[in-house]
């Protein structure tokens, strides 16, 4: 039996550089048995890197790691990870979209051990079914992961991580009850699911397992964690008992200064009363059954709902990223048939769209920041043969500085920017086209508190210049801060609408979870 006092994880003096960039420096981190430990920090502060060191993916330059009191060789081997029951939900979930749900679920099991041993398909299937029942996942095991919703993907990743923690052979041969590491698992989850996940973490911790939990949502962190550690620029600025911290203290620890926007309920940008800039009628397609909507210049309209309600498809349909099956869209005087919309026509009509999936739909990570940012402004150069090259770098450099992308270096690979800066760079890419309509999908997903504030400012600025903004998001806090008006979708139609003073997190939460009878869609939509 292991000594209960021994921490599950103790990292000492861990340092890591990528090339010449110091990402982690002298980090000491201890996770005790049975505690939920929050790991906080701005985008790029090194949280995921620390976690990938634990996963054996990166080798630290310096430092040592003890698991269950025994020091282990670095890089951490799969064998040690298995022995000490380190389980992960990685930031991007680490699922393979082209493989099936079952295969993804088994990934960690097949990763080590004798390779030629036969798979026992029936047992695998039975285990999968059990896991799915436990986590309320209703998926066929042979569905491809790319065909399931992001929520299901997150649940799958969590189920995969937790699957062995409950096994009863714990505490054998010096191994403890393990460590569950969750890197921003809540980014994709709606409220109800977050609550379930929090319950799950508690339950897991109650068994004696340590939980390391990364999130940008301070409310979640304050709710669930016992202790928190905060990274700033790769250095540990403190490990504290959560109970001893107020929200403001946390923000100050993370950002290094107080941030005002977060503290108060927002003052939404006011909409001007001209005629609508964007007018949508009878739009349908995907999960959306019917949508009428008009947005005035300077107005920011939020769309939210539960998973499957189609709220996140509204922006995709309006941009032509997803083909609509009917309806029409008017931008100023330009009438467009929704079915004919394609990204090209939408862009020509003055529409900009920030997809939620930055890595695949928003950017080409292997190309440079400059290229990614300048791709759209090329069109303005006239004709297909506008010169690029050095002019591009200068042009992009200016854009990056204007939007405070750090570092404002166009020649860097886009992938090397941290999440928040990637998002700001994407904003730069679209805002430079001077859009009339700005469509946003989860604009601050995985973005830290500081960058989040800057992005809000950018949105407000775009609205002030006459943009009609539509934002689909499941982040109610965010909607409350930026929107003049929020539509709630249920089963593909707008079931409710909040405006004016009512647009607060509390108001939205109430609306979302109110067990209200769905009223007639026409009546409730944009009157």
């Amino acid at each position: 039996m292991t000594d209960p006092a021994r921490p599950v994880l103790r990292m000492r003096g861990v340092a890591k550089t990528f090339g010449l960039t110091r990402v982690l420096q002298d980090v000491d981190l201890t996770v005790r048995r049975g505690e939920v430990h929050g790991l906080l920090g701005q985008n790029g502060s090194g949280k995921s890197t620390l976690i990938k060191i634990l996963a054996g993916f990166h080798t630290p330059d310096e430092g040592s790691i003890e698991l269950d009191g025994a020091s282990v060789d670095l890089p951490l081997s799969a064998v040690d990870r298995r022995k000490h029951r380190l389980r992960f939900v990685h930031q991007d979930l680490a699922l393979l979209p082209s493989l099936t749900v079952l295969e993804n679920l088994l990934a960690d099991d097949v990763a080590t051990g004798p390779g030629i041993r036969p798979r026992r398909r029936r047992a695998e299937l039975a285990r999968a079914t059990a896991q799915f029942d436990r986590f309320g996942i209703s998926l066929r095991p042979d569905t491809l992961v790319r065909d399931i919703s992001r929520l299901d993907r997150a649940k799958l990743a969590i189920a995969r991580a937790v699957s062995h923690l409950g096994d009863d052979d714990g505490d054998a041969d010096g191994a403890g009850r393990g460590l569950l590491v969750l890197d921003e698992p809540t980014a994709f989850l709606p409220h109800s699911e977050v609550a379930e996940l929090i319950a799950l973490m508690r339950a897991v911790a109650a068994q004696g397992t340590g939980v390391l939990f990364v999130s940008h949502d301070l409310d979640e962190v304050l709710t669930v964690t016992d202790r928190v550690s905060v990274l700033r620029d790769g250095q540990l600025v403190g490990s504290e008992d959560t109970a001893s911290l107020a929200r403001e203290d946390l923000v100050r620890l993370i950002v290094g200064r107080p941030v005002s926007v977060l503290s108060a309920g927002s003052a939404p940008v006011s909409a001007s009363q001209e005629r609508p800039r964007l007018q949508v009628s009878a739009l349908r397609g995907g999960a959306v059954q019917h949508l009428d909507l008009s947005v005035h210049p300077g107005e920011v309209v939020g769309v939210t709902g539960v998973i499957g309600s189609g709220f996140d498809e509204v922006t995709q349909l309006l941009f032509g990223a997803l083909r609509a099956s009917g309806g029409s869209v008017a931008i100023d005087d330009l009438e467009l048939e929704a079915r004919r919309l394609s990204p090209a026509t939408a862009i020509k009509a003055g529409v900009a769209y920030l997809p939620s999936d930055r890595a695949v739909q928003g950017s080409a990570p292997s190309l440079t920041v400059g290229e990614n940012v300048a791709l759209l402004s090329l069109r303005k150069g006239g004709g297909p043969f506008a010169l690029t090259g050095r002019r591009l770098e200068r042009h992009a450099g200016k854009l990056l500085r204007d939007l405070d992308v750090r570092p404002p270096e166009p020649a860097l690979a886009y992938a090397s920017l941290s999440g928040g800066n990637q998002q700001k760079a994407m904003m730069a890419k679209w805002l430079v086209t001077g859009p009339k309509v700005l469509l946003l999908s989860e604009p601050t997903q995985g973005v830290d508190v500081g960058a989040r504030e800057q992005i809000f400012t950018l949105i407000a600025e775009a609205a002030r210049q006459g943009c009609a903004v539509v934002c689909s998001s499941s982040d109610l806090d965010q909607l409350a801060q930026i929107c003049n008006r929020v539509l709630l979708m249920r089963r593909g139609v707008v079931s409710d609408e909040v405006h004016g003073e009512a647009v607060t997190k509390a108001g939205l939460t109430e609306m979302l979870f109110a067990d209200a009878v769905v009223r007639s869609p026409r009546a409730t939509s944009d009157a």
């Binding site: 990938k52 799969a78 295969e103 099991d109 097949v110 790319r146």
Partner: protein
Amino acid sequence: MSVGTTTGHDTDAVAPTRPGARRWTSRIEAGALPAAWLVVFVVFAVLLPDTFLSTASVSNILGSQAVPLVLTLCLVLPLVCGDYDMSVASVATLTAMVIGILNVNHGWSIGAAIVAGLLAALLAGLVNGAVIVIFGVDSLIVTLGTGTVIQGLVLWISDSTTVSGISTSLVDLVIGYKLFSVPAAFYYGLALCVVLWYLLQHTALGMRMLFIGRGRDVARLSGIAVPRVRMGALVASAGLAGVAGTLYAGTTGSADPSSGTSFLLPAFAAVFLGATTVIPGRFNAWGAFIAVYFLATGITGLQLLGAESFVQQLFYGGALVIAVSLAQLARRREATSAGTTS
């Protein structure tokens, strides 16, 4: 190098469906190539009831494709892991030549010569693996390069001459012994198919390879020893190429220094064609088997019809394009509504 020739990535947009529907089209897709095979078979059986349907003809189709089949199968392993191996044909030639030289010119026993030939193949695989995995260089260009080097080595050791008179015991082992009047070589290919099928579909190792091919970083995060498995696949691929070379030497009873390379592109065509069937979208052993024999059936039918050789080429290329397009059509059918055009 980030020129990247990873084979495992999905290029297509998502094809979302309800699970039931997915099943249905997937089955059509998987069945396209076997159906085409059946059609080709029936057409020729009707056209040529006497010759095409004879035992001799069937045994010809089955027996003559052992070398192409094994070369196609050996490509499956690195391709599943996301690596190209363009050196397999050269490695096969190397093995055949080593066997020929040692057995004929140096009087080694055939067994010892085969072992030496296979060791040479494995060594080539180790070099491929080391450069690709350890240095981290793009597999396509490395294996194009090592393939050329090996080709040069073969010319060197053979003095550019054909070696004939390889022990008849090898020839007997490969095409002499027959079961149901089909030469042994066919059964070796079949056995290899079974082994690969078991490995890929029914072992943990097979799944690791699949994970590596579909996402190297994710595989590492899952704790898979990516370099070791990739290396293993490349070495195994070279080893199997050595087996192909042994069969080749046994088929012709001789080893010539230059002919082997003409197997390369047909093997690639077959392995990609095979990935449209059985388990559509994945490189798989039975798919490769079906692809090789589908093409061989058509070609043999045309030969029996007395068609000119250019007609055979038109059939070969046309069948390839049409079969793949059909499989893709079956898959796209329902995806269209999702508006996910490339």
